[in-house]
């Protein structure tokens, strides 16, 4: 193997550092016994991915990654975990009954990602994959190009994703509402019919 130039060493060490931060963080997420610390360890994972985008010249994607994943999704996860009881306890079980489905889903994701990387015609698109790490190419910052591609070439996946998000939102609202209705559903019908002003007012409200 020929000796690496300084430039190569720098590029490979940046890559190695980013990979270490991302993968190391991911391992800590799975291995942390306290729920809140697992959530905190997601931070280097998302930040590392943003670093990869930046490293590959995709400044726009990096900014969106930080804005959406770190600024919104992770924050909501931390928020939700803070509200649960025993968030900082370290005696929670590390595995549960979903282990096998989760492993299968993770394997499926690996297959999909590797498959996508293999079947993408990199060379036809003018990307030199052997030197991708060394010469990350022109920065892809043309935001209007990203928008046009999303709304023309990939319109269908885009719309499907928005329907999926809408469904998730409605599902969340239904779940959040259900708990409030539960007490009067649990009551026998006569009791609801009985002259209880509060129940009447309540059924009036929920109607």
């Amino acid at each position: 193997m020929e000796a690496m130039t300084t430039q190569e060493i720098v590029h490979y060490s940046i890559f190695a550092l980013l990979a270490l931060v991302t993968v190391g963080g991911a391992i800590k997420v799975a291995a942390s016994r306290s729920m809140i610390h697992a959530a905190f360890w997601l931070f280097p994972v998302f930040a590392g991915v943003a670093g990869f985008y930046l490293y590959l010249g995709a400044q726009f994607l990096a900014a969106i990654q930080v804005l959406i994943y770190i600024g919104a999704i992770l924050l909501l996860i931390v928020f939700a975990v803070t509200l649960t009881r025993n968030a900082a306890d370290t005696d929670e079980a590390q595995s549960n009954r979903f282990v096998i489905p989760v492993v299968l889903a993770a394997l499926l994701l690996v297959v999909a990602l590797v498959g996508a990387a293999v079947i993408t015609p990199w060379r036809e698109a003018g990307v030199d994959i052997d030197r991708l790490l060394l010469a990350p190419g022109v920065p892809v910052t043309d935001v209007s190009a990203v928008g046009l591609t999303l709304l023309q070439q990939y319109l269908l996946p885009f719309e499907i994703a928005s329907v999926l998000l809408l469904a998730a939102m409605i599902g969340a609202i239904v779940l959040a509402r259900k708990e409030r209705r539960a007490p009067d559903e649990a009551l026998p019908a006569e009791e609801i019919m009985a002259h209880d002003e509060r129940t009447e007012a309540y059924t009036e409200l929920t109607r």
Binding site: F40, V66, F79
Partner: protein
């Protein structure tokens, strides 16, 4: 070598400028509040009390660096540094005058939004790590408030981005050569201004630290330099939002006669003065009122503004 020197000077200059303006603002605000509320304010240390800040710094730095035994120690220590780091790094993308910018990224506006999203962590983690019910309540309020208002903040800026066709601060200021964006984007400016108040957790929107209900909210357990970092973070945030408003809505460095940097500074000081005036005059709303106002008034307004801006650009054949 000359190029390197210029870059170094810009970086050091911006950092020094911000680090003087933000603490200076603490004194300036106390004096202005005193003036508007008919009180004396700090007037003993130095001429017009201007050395009050130095006295405060000495006191804060010599205080015991106390970490409560029930706190989550690493998180407790990291939390206050996040807000200072995140707000300070936002200044890197602002163009103060032609050629005076640390890094005029072509995703500048997005970078600012991403960094202000990071600042939320400081408050969220600080409140949680304190292991104190008032701190936790404060940080829960803060996350809800800042996460919601960030949405309106981002949406209100999209009109400006659409008009100038760029995310870069340099291009956006250049696009305002003939007409400042505060005229066509007055709705966006109003939404952004209110969102900026909520993002920096200033009176009247300081519900995360409402002292009449929550002791001091998320920083109840903090003291000494760690508290000072939260405090400084708030004032750097105010300076940052004033700078952003000037650059995106009030034509940045554009102005007759005076040199560009002076114009930028004067406009920034005027906007900061407005922030202080609002603090001096408005009462604090209830938390549910704040959320309702955001989602039921600001969100439709911001969307309407974006829709109208887009329609006008299309009609003009842009």
């Amino acid at each position: 070598m000359n190029e390197l020197l210029r870059i170094l000077l810009t970086v050091v200059g911006v950092l020094l400028g911000v680090m003087t303006l933000a603490p200076g603002l603490i004194w300036g605000e106390r004096r202005l509040l005193a003036l508007w509320q008919d009180r004396c304010g700090p007037n003993r240390v130095g001429p017009f009390g201007s050395l009050q800040l130095v006295a405060d710094m000495i006191k804060i730095l010599t205080k015991e660096d106390w970490i409560p035994p029930f706190a989550d120690k690493p998180v407790f220590i990291i939390a206050p540094s996040i807000i200072v780091t995140a707000t300070l790094s936002s200044f890197a993308v602002v163009v103060f005058a032609p050629g005076i910018a640390v890094a005029d990224l072509n995703i500048g506006v997005l970078f600012f939004l991403a960094m202000s999203a990071m600042a939320v962590y400081s408050v969220a983690l600080g409140g949680w790590a304190s292991n104190n019910k008032y701190a936790l309540l404060g940080s829960i309020r803060a996350v809800g408030q800042m996460l919601s208002y960030e949405v309106f903040m981002a949406l209100s800026l999209m009109g400006v981005v659409a008009l100038s066709g760029s995310f870069s601060f340099g291009d956006i200021v250049e696009a305002q050569r003939d007409l400042w964006f505060c005229v066509p984007q007055c709705l966006g400016l109003a939404v952004f201004f209110i969102a900026a108040l909520a993002e920096t957790r200033r009176v009247p929107l300081d519900l995360p630290e409402a002292e009449s209900e929550l002791v001091a909210g998320y920083h109840t357990e903090y003291s000494g330099m760690k508290f000072a970092m939260f405090f400084l973070g708030e004032y750097i945030g105010v300076t940052l939002n004033a700078v952003i408003i000037v650059a995106l809505f009030f034509g940045g460095w554009h102005g007759p006669w005076l040199p560009p940097v002076v114009w930028f500074l004067l406009k920034t000081l005027a906007v900061i003065g407005l922030f202080v005036l609002i603090r001096a005059s408005l009462p604090r709303p209830r938390y549910d009122q704040l959320m309702e106002f955001g989602w039921k008034a600001l969100l439709p307004l911001a969307l309407l503004n974006l829709l109208a801006t887009g329609a006008i650009i299309l009609a003009r054949g842009g």
